[in-house]
Symmetry: C2
Subunit: 134 residues, 2 copies
């Protein structure tokens, strides 16, 4: 499709957006994180219903930071572009002080391009750690 | 886009595919479930790494059935069609004997239309129950 764009260009744009996400997380800026989502953005976290809208998203990430999560590393595995929509699959690692891994897992993010900027629209993830923590 | 199709048609097709999934689950047919995925289909379950390919997918669902899950109810919330790809968001309920709810949560499935048939390509979900089980 003409407007699907170059696949590697879309992937590079998503990876750049992930870098912005990681930087905001590392400096503990939950408001900046929330700003990376669309107005109708949703988190789908384990252990709760859907978290919808920027204010709720900001509160969620603030809560994660308050629990001691200092950094979120995102590693893109694959990106599919469909016009103004992109589907990203990746792996995450959450770390606390002093760099210990608190969780690692996988995610799918549905991105929407709005005014030239890629924003997270749906963000679902889960832990790959077994309940025994290995 | 010309090939994006009618949004409600795509949603109806995905809901019909979900019905086939639920029927296969209810009769305990893990092989039929696995057949509903693409050749490169992946499950992204909580507590394990990615489960890739039909044989592994069949084994995963057989394991869930052996653990006492008798039915999986899927409730579509929204579907976006992008040509041969569709993004579905929904809610699930897993039940055992005698109909008690073992888990409920939310999911995103990336579907691919192949030879006119919609198949699950990526399937990620997580529980909405709190760790305390409420």
């Amino acid at each position: 499709m003409a407007n699907q764009g170059n696949a590697s260009e879309v992937q590079a744009a998503i990876e750049a957006a992930d870098e912005v996400f990681m930087a905001a997380f590392s400096r503990g800026d939950a408001a900046a994180l929330a700003d990376l989502y669309t107005e109708k953005g949703q988190l789908l976290p384990t252990g709760s219903d859907v978290v919808a809208g920027k204010e709720a998203i900001q509160n969620f990430w603030q809560g994660a930071m308050d629990m001691g999560i200092n950094s979120a590393r995102l590693e893109t595995i694959e990106v599919e572009g469909h016009g103004d929509t992109a589907i990203e699959q990746g792996k995450y690692t959450l770390r606390g002080e002093p760099g210990n891994v608190l969780d690692r897992g996988k995610y799918i993010v549905i991105w929407k391009q709005q005014a030239g900027q890629w924003k997270l629209h749906r963000d679902i993830w889960n832990s790959s750690l077994s309940p025994q923590g290995d």
